[in-house]
Amino acid sequence: MIEALEGSQALARAVVLCRPGVVAAYPITPQTHIVENISKLVADGVTDLELVSVESEFSAASVAMGAAAAGSRAYTASASQGILLMSEVLFNISGLRIPLVMHCANRAIGAPLNIWNDQSDSMAVRDAGWIQIYCADNQEAIDSTVQAYRIAERTELPVMVCVDGFTLTHTLESLELPSQEQVDGYLPDYVYRRSLNVRQPISQGTLVGPDVFPEARHSHHQALINAIPEIERANADWAAVCGRDGGALLTVEGDPDAEIGILAIGSTIGTLAEAMEEFPDYPKVRLIKLRVFRPFPIEALRAACAGLRKLAVIERAFSAGMGGIVGTEVRANVPGVTVYNYAIGLGGRDIPLTIYPRILDAIAGDDTRFQILDVDLSRLPEEDR
């Protein structure tokens, strides 16, 4: 049934459909509505999950980690500074190979203080050893949430489902939630092999010395690489259940024969897709939506870029003093393609349809240096331009 739902409201229902036993979160805009809506569902008796109020994001992640380790499906969510406060725990969760799912309602990081959307938060923890899925729209966010639990529990890796704050979380649109039967049929009961059990005591998180630490790290890295087929399978199996296919690792649209491509991550893709139709004087491009950023899908990316001469990578974060994050990784992995790299929409700056001709004009030249494409340099002192 198609419903008119705000992104956060739909995500709360999607989480509850996955039957977590424990939810722990600390409010931060624009994530707050997700957990608020979960608490409403608890109050309304829709679910009997344990909602734990905590005093910080550090505790939220710790409670979720402990619950998942103790044998309960668990959930948390955060954004921005909250993700940073969680970051120590995020590394522990993945290092302990605990299957947890969280939403990151993507938001900029201060200073300067800014509550609006970009992806600096999830990108700042890209090396935390989590699977990261970036959603193009709210329907994909719903479906990715359900898939995330399947992926996490099969791979024993935590999954961060990234949804652009406000742009998705606070947008009401036509959405379809799966039925409880569909989710139950797709997602088996939570099983964690190393679940904490007083009858069979084990130690977790013990000191690991130089004698085995590199092996532990290798095994974590390999687990992420090995997660690629699990992510593809989770998507294909879910598509078979509900008839919707948000794309597994990435999807390609536009002109498949174009020698020029644009790659984007998150909700920017829809604007680019419609803009491609709105500017008939500009050629259509091959539009690549990168859905999974960790593990980085090298093979799928190379296949999607085959035959491209130029590729513009568009992202909503960057590494100050270096340049684009996604762009740098793409450039390192698509030999023979000239990669241009732009950040846009930082701190919630609106991404208008005119960004499409602007990108195509920018890549007409040879300058492949990273740029914040929508920056207004005239507002900066000479030495900062």
Binding site: I2, E3, A4, E6, I115, W116, D137, F166, T167, L168, H170, T171, L172, E173, S174, S267, T268, I269, G270, T271, A273, E274, A275, D350, I351, P352, L353
Partner: protein, 188 residues
Amino acid sequence: MIELRIHGRGGQGNVVAAYLMAAAAIKEQRYGQAFPAFGAERRGAPVQAFVRIADAPIRRRSQVAEPDFLIVQDQALLHVPGVLVGLRSGGGILVNSVDSSEQLTEQLGHPTIAFGATALAQRHLGRPVPNTALLAAFLSLSEVLPLGSLAAALSERFKGKVLEKNLSLIEDAAQQVPGGVWRENRND
């Protein structure tokens, strides 16, 4: 596709108005999208929200820069820079105001309907919240969606007395403006 921009002040139910309009479209088996432009969220501060209604899935997520219509919940906002920016030529402005429509049309250079939504809301709801009355008036003027779709969207969001009062408010509001006069101003 029809694009609206709703201007109001924090506390006037601006975001809810946008959500209700998009939800009404979805009730009609059309596609709807609504989202706010959040600023510093406090009562009284100028805020805006956007609505798109279309017959195909809406994928763009840019703010509505060139609206077909403006709904302005507080007349004083007409003097705030940027409120009228981008309105398509021939596009209509619905203003919560007790002034004359002719005078405002002349002043603003766009077809403008003044409608005293606050007093009407006060009468029906006992509170000066103009948003649902303005939505009903807009639907009556533009005939973009039937009034029943707004009633259906309201029924999903509100219950009991609040719902009843809003339903009687929108019935009344829809009668207060000339029906269908903006049919030709539509761009869909």
